[in-house]
Amino acid sequence: MRRYWFSILIVLLAAGGIGTYYLIGIRGHLPEYIIETVQGDTKEGAAVVLSGSHYGAMRSEPLDVTTEGSNYLGRNLHLRERLADAGTWFYQDLNIQQLLKDHKAFMRGKNNSGGFYRDAEMVIYAELSTSTRHTNAPYAKLELSMLDEETGKVATFKSIALDEPEQIYNIMNVQRLDNEVHILFRKYESHTSNLAVYAFDSGTGKQLRRIDLKNQLKSKATEYNLNLIANESVSKPSDLIYFTYSEGSEALNRKNYAYSYRTGKLSELSETLWGPDIGGFFTYSLQQDQFYYAEIAPDEVVLSLYHTKTKARKRAYATVTAKQLGVDEIQSAQIQKDRVYLGLEKAGVKGAAVLRLEDGKLLFEGFAVQASGNGQTDEEMKRRLHLNNLVIEHKLKD
């Protein structure tokens, strides 16, 4: 046994060195942080993610801080997590998460969020066929998949020819109207692009008609930008869709347009969705026929609502000030679903607040602090922790 000492030593070295490193050596590398609830219900703050970096002596480490703790992204470098990471933006949408849960098989290989439509009866997905991508054949072929929620049957129409195949199509929005599927495309041709709505028969997949939006614009300007105002969730039914319009590179003559899938008419709105008296930075959320918008200033956030159908406006129905929140600055705001998320800063420390969209009531307020036992002074923490972004990540509740 004695003469095997060298081999035994090698085995011990091999296991010991690596084992010690991964069990003990890697501990205590980076300080842990957490969002501490100062007011309200911690559960309301569950979707809040303060994202940024931690500055070390010679390098910075990206990290996310939530109400559950901190997560350093430099750690997530292994294969399983790297694969799972791909396409997280797509998976963020709660409706997509719900679709994945309900119809896992149908959702395979579908990742264009603008191509989804869902109502109580059906799920529709539209995608441009990629099979001709690397050939010289015409690019523009449409593929439509329709899932009947009740029976689970799927009808697929592949290779629906589009009438101007030499142009590049992009799917912006999908809607279902009785037995028709309407798709809003952006079509690129040399250096210009145009929006057009195509209607297809949902029984046969044949193209029924085409409506070019540019023909219905009031102004005949040649250089203009017509952009879809995205709905809160791209896959919900909504008969009306809205656009921003401006002319030229200096964005003059700003207007909003509304298009009705049912009538096929594009009409200019007498006033923009956010009204004429908007000032400074604002963010909005179009939720079906309700257009919420929030004006952000360092000292206050003002919430307003515009009903697109009734045209009633509830201007500044709620105001939340930095003083009320006890912070130095309100730095950002996002409206998602029925909540308003604010990014805050107090004495060099970042935090977040969650308001109820309906009335601006404060539901949660929290700030990033060191998790217990870190050993950093507050000064050091302020120097090292730079959480500059507020990201909202929803997880589907089971």
Partner: protein, 277 residues
Amino acid sequence: MNRYLKLVHMEIYRFRIVLLVLMGITALCQMSALIWMLKKALSDLRGEHPEAGAYFSPIPLRISFEWAMFNTQMWFIIPVLLCISVLSLYVFFIWYRDWIGRNAFIYRLLMLPTARRNIYLAKITALLLFVLSIVSFQLALLPVLELVIRLVVPAELRADSHIIDIISSNQALVELIPRQFEQFFYMYGAGAVIVAAVFTAILLERSYRRLGILYGLLYLSGCGLVVASPILLFGTNESVIYLYPTEIYLMLLLLFLLVASASVWLGMRLIAKKITV
């Protein structure tokens, strides 16, 4: 089991000098480079011989291992590259050394009253042990070098570094020693699968001689195709992938397992039935 262990010991024993020399060169090279850099930095801090632009990053107020590592990287990387080259060559030499010359030791090995697969298993075990022990040696060397810094640099000019930061400052070590054990397992596991496949290719050559070289190359290409099949099937630019990420992960795992078992099975069969002296 007993004879397998004895064979492993024999393989380790045969390689012991090379192993010790590699470790020695690594220790010597890294230690001297570190000491030289520290002395230079100290004298510059004390304002003795200022040399503009002599460092990759300016001298901090307090010298840390992290900083020293960043500036002496090359001298740390050279012995690492040496170890990698020697071990890579030994993947082949561990077999071919038994055939060289008239004193062909392979006769003895093939006539041992133990299952032939133990020869295969002993060689792959030994090789893996060599790789892991050198990695461990490098890891164990770092605290020793930290001690050297303590001896050379006085406390008021010194700052501590965490071992992860030290490793992250070195372009080679940061790749070879991942932060998470799971990634370490994937990396070195994949390496072990590659070694198993190469061993099988070597045994194909040793069993079929000239035709065997062709078989060996074909076999390795086959293994490569199997493992790369997800990329080939789905394409790198294609956005339409019909598998969810977890499924792709499991698929890759399965493919590697497949290549590993095929290689080991084939290798053991070749050495038992087809090998020729």
